[in-house]
């Protein structure tokens, strides 16, 4: 491969990290717990993409195995969430502040 490929792959990996940062805003804002879980799902895909890009950029095929494990387990947290908690409507619209904490009274 041409020598400009490695820096290009690093830039792409950094760009995916940037989109992960965007997704984190959705985790922060919610408003419902379903939105948060969903954003986490997106971030998992992003992490897989970063791993694939780094595997090529650093010529470390072992990273493909890390990506494979992440891809296999991408839905475990989501499945636990759906089976145990489930989407609950936010208690307040556009929950900026704490939702559950209000009943704490401290």
């Amino acid at each position: 491969m041409p020598e400009w490929m490695t820096p290009a792959l690093w830039i792409a990996a950094a760009a995916v990290l940037g989109t992960i940062a965007l997704g984190l805003v959705r985790v922060e804002r919610g408003p419902s717990n379903g939105d948060r879980m969903l954003a986490a799902q997106l971030l998992g895909t992003g992490a897989v993409a970063v791993l694939l890009l780094l595997a090529r950029a650093t010529d470390a095929p072992a990273l493909l195995d890390v990506a494979l494990v992440l891809a296999l387990l991408a839905c475990v947290a989501g499945a636990v969430f759906v089976r145990r908690i489930g989407v609950q409507p936010p208690e307040r619209d556009e929950g900026r502040g704490p939702t559950r904490a209000t009943e704490d009274g401290s």
Partner: protein
């Protein structure tokens, strides 16, 4: 180092620190747990950057799979009121100011010593790599875990066993209401479970010469077990079979140690010509045990939902509520 690599590292570190902080400071505990899961995801990228793909594999399986599953399950069992925290969970009060100052002091001390360290350091890399030929494997991390420092790993398997005994000693919990069986979840299980088993076996095998090994394989299997439990609830109380598998890894490891001690070399000193095979046997047994232990830690012990006094299976015979049962701990 090239600028684009530094940009990547800087973004990753900033994201990690921000997520770590938010996981601790978000008022909503569910949000905090999701942020902690993403933190684990990005942590495995950090291990990759630091040249530790073995650690990255374990973090990917545990951080992204198992830890999140455990935390979400507990949040569900705590219910709405139990999952409520303060509006400012880490807000400063007079008592906390002292703790904050102590933490900052520790950090300052650590920073000072980090800056005083030399930028290059031989560490134990050379001796570890030189002895590799005699260790039976060519992945130095596996060699360290199962040969040079096999003692540590033996005790680690013991610690895992104690953790699951600890969970079993506790009183059985009331079962959560079970959602109706979901065909898609069944499909997920049918596709993913065989794959997790294959990939776990692959990681165990490849661990001898490339990143991978018993722990990574076990964590992956355990995540498969968690999926199984979600789709078709398992009963993993302290039944004889479950206990046998839980003990298996530790027992095989210890038996090998005793055998090497009796036959010559010394406790857990493997003869180089058989080291590779011995390590594979220990790893296979340890992988099974660790995987089962982790699933059992997730499953815990549940009472039957309808009639709380009657244990839901013969396997859970010691799970009578209100009767702390010392017999559960062999």
């Amino acid at each position: 180092m090239a600028a684009e690599v530094q940009v990547f590292d800087a973004v990753l570190v900033v994201l990690l620190l921000w997520l770590g902080w938010r996981a601790l400071a978000s008022a909503d505990l569910f949000k905090a747990v999701v942020q902690f899961i993403v933190f684990g995801l990005l942590l495995s990228l950090a291990w990759v950057r630091l040249g530790a793909p073995d650690v990255a594999l374990a973090e990917a399986a545990i951080g992204a799979g198992l830890a999140g599953a455990l935390l979400l399950d507990t949040l569900a069992r705590l219910g709405r009121s139990g999952a409520a925290d303060e509006a400012r969970p880490l807000g400063l009060t007079p008592a906390r100011t002292g703790i904050a100052l102590a933490a900052l002091g520790l950090a300052a001390l650590l920073v000072a010593s980090a800056l005083a360290l030399p930028e290059r350091w031989p560490g134990l890399a050379e001796p570890a790599l030189q002895q590799l030929r005699a260790s039976g494997v060519s992945n130095p991390v596996t060699a360290t875990l199962l040969n040079y420092r096999a003692w540590d790993t033996l005790l680690e398997v013991g610690v895992l066993m104690l953790a699951v005994l600890g969970v079993w000693i506790l009183e059985a919990e009331p079962a959560l209401p079970r959602p109706a069986p979901d065909p898609m979840l069944g499909l997920l299980l049918r596709v993913l479970l065989p794959l997790t088993v294959i990939v776990a076996g692959y990681l165990l095998w490849v661990g001898a010469h490339a990143p991978g090994g018993a722990f990574q394989g076990a964590a992956l299997l355990a995540a498969g077990g968690v999926l199984w439990h979600l789709a078709r609830p398992l009963s993993l109380g302290p039944s004889p079979v479950v206990r046998a598998v839980v003990v298996l890894g530790f027992a095989v490891f210890l038996a090998v140690g005793v055998a090497t001690a009796v036959l010559g070399g010394g406790l857990l000193t493997f003869p180089p010509e058989h080291a590779g095979a011995i390590i594979l046997v220990i790893e296979a047994a340890a992988m099974l045990s660790i995987a089962l232990i982790m699933v059992a830690l997730f499953v815990g012990r549940e009472r039957a939902p309808s009639d709380a006094g009657i244990p839901d299976s013969a396997a859970d015979a010691s799970a009578v509520p209100g009767a702390p049962n010392p017999g559960a701990a062999p």
